[in-house]
């Protein structure tokens, strides 16, 4: 069954009465084919239903495939990035393939390497744990754009939201509402709390802004383990007597905090929550989560643009920073104005 030989370039060449090289030129839109030959070849291609094999093409030329590595399929922020990337690739000959890093096995570079092994023409990756030296080495072989890196690299491009500013804006938002106790709940990613990661930069921005405002910083670190964040949120809220503002490291965390808030029947005036990433669910009226938007879709699109530039020959490295903005919604409110009752 599975042994049926499929149509190759040879079959097309035979059918069209030309050489394989000629067919190759036609399918690559390469220079130097007469209109008649092109017509004959295209007719043969359609008739036979020929499709070039990416694997064979990749051996000599391009695979016309862009690889996108994402940390997990469960954080919807990455869905936005993928959406931007695929949309940016419409009308090009490139196809996106996505490699999710195995969340259970925690292997950073593995998914990226798997993409490289598959001879993609370029890689967009989102990973804060892979060391720069490793990336530089990889980038010498394959065009690479990293999302969420605050440094400018030598051989690859970097693209990042201004996480310091984002956290500052979030604190500012809570402060302006009237909050004075503002807690930052964030991920303890280990590795000496990897400096320079988006989450750490948000911590930096948080600390900075709190200092500016003369407020006491208060950080709750959460291990990225199932259930840890919900428990941490519950613990935090069990000690709440006065109003508190909570800046969560990202929306997934914020949703856990909201769950704990709902469980205790607290209002936004008592416990205001701000997330980060502005994922789709944040805008749902039943969630209505205030969140810092860092333009995920646009990030995906820009990453692809940078990558295509690299594939086209650019070697100087680029570093782009996107400006975040606070999307204020109902999860954050002024502690001054208590509503008629807790909203159950």
């Amino acid at each position: 069954m599975q042994t049926e030989r499929s149509i190759t370039i040879e079959d097309v060449a035979l059918a069209a009465g030309v050489s394989r090289a000629a067919v190759s030129k036609v399918i690559r839109d390469a220079y130097g084919v007469s209109p008649q030959m092109r017509a004959r070849v295209e007719a043969a291609i359609n008739e036979l239903g020929y499709r070039p094999r990416a694997a064979a093409r990749a051996m000599r030329g391009s695979s016309f495939t862009i690889g996108v590595e994402i940390p997990t399929v469960h954080n919807h922020f990455f869905s936005k990035i993928i959406d931007g990337a695929t949309t940016a690739l419409v009308d090009t000959r490139y196809q996106v393939i996505i490699a999710p890093a195995d969340p259970h096995h925690d292997e950073g570079p593995q998914a990226i390497e798997a993409l490289a092994d598959r001879q993609v023409d370029g890689i967009v990756a989102i990973s804060s744990r892979v060391p720069q030296t490793w990336l530089e080495k990889l980038a010498v072989r394959v065009p690479l754009v990293m999302i969420g890196r605050h440094h400018q690299a030598e051989h690859y491009d970097t693209l990042v939201g201004d996480d310091v500013l984002g956290a500052e804006l979030a604190v500012q938002h809570l402060f302006e509402l009237g909050h004075r106790r503002i807690v930052h709940l964030t991920l303890d990613e280990g590795r000496g709390a990897a400096p320079g990661t988006p989450h750490m930069m948000r911590v930096v921005g948080y600390r900075q802004k709190m200092a500016d405002l003369g407020l006491e910083p208060e950080i709750v670190w959460v291990k990225p383990v199932q259930g840890e964040s919900l428990q941490a949120a519950r613990d935090l809220l069990s000690r709440v007597d006065a109003p508190v503002g909570i800046l969560a490291g990202h929306d997934e965390l914020a949703l856990e905090v909201l769950q704990a808030v709902a469980e205790r029947g607290l209002t936004a005036a008592q416990a205001s929550v701000v997330g980060y990433d502005d994922t789709d669910v944040a805008a749902h009226p039943m969630i209505s989560l205030t969140s810092v938007n860092q333009s995920g879709t646009q990030m995906g699109a820009i990453a692809v643009r940078l990558l295509l530039e690299r594939i086209a020959g650019r070697t100087a490295s680029a570093h782009e920073v996107l400006t975040p903005r606070v999307m204020a919604r109902n999860s954050s409110a002024s502690p001054a104005h208590e509503p008629e009752g807790s909203h159950h």
Copy 2:
């Protein structure tokens, strides 16, 4: 820069003082290599940091890559399937690559074909629009498992939730709560409302159960266009005077309905909503959406198992049906017991 030649099997063979064939056998765990040779080769591989290229391997043997096609990256039900699939592939030599079908361009087979072009060893696809004849043809060349197909095919495996039963259970649930007006809001997928798709089978189950209960069926068809479903939900609710139960075709639709319900300040007792797929967000206490669970994660795992069986040589086609169950939550309630007030 990008021209640095990377390590090939030849380099390893030279370093280890053996033939390329020997190296090939070692990396494939093939029969017939002495322990010493294996040791020498493995040492050389590690020293040189050799990684076999999937493209080259695919020319003769396997690419050790499984392709998963999903309709869109925005429906979180598909995230579950991917999760199940990747988890099932841990500890195998296979890597998953995902190809999202372009939602804007609506091209069904294109993403699947792109995977086939990339010489994956097998494909798991979720698509209700691709004709069976097309799939049969493809399946002759590459092992294929289709999720969400109610027919048994000849050359590929099919795996599906019992959508008729799922819809029946949902209607039953609403009926038992006390609802008598039960509306089904579902997607109008065109193509003569493609019979046999999961959504159409849910319509069948809905109609059947309504008839059994002696109730009047009432179906609202929604075009899969941005904003259409929300508008339809608003229209539906604007005419609500007596309690209504609404079965949405899937959770994404249900979320829109919930939004409309929230906008009008209706309670679950006035407008009960049931979704389908039981995506993560449904369980969030602020959403608490009653939903039909069809074991997405398990589907992904089973699909991979079936695919590996096919890759291993099975040719007889399999057809598996999963039994759904209703996850009752707060979005559905008895119309008899009005709570103290609308929950804003």
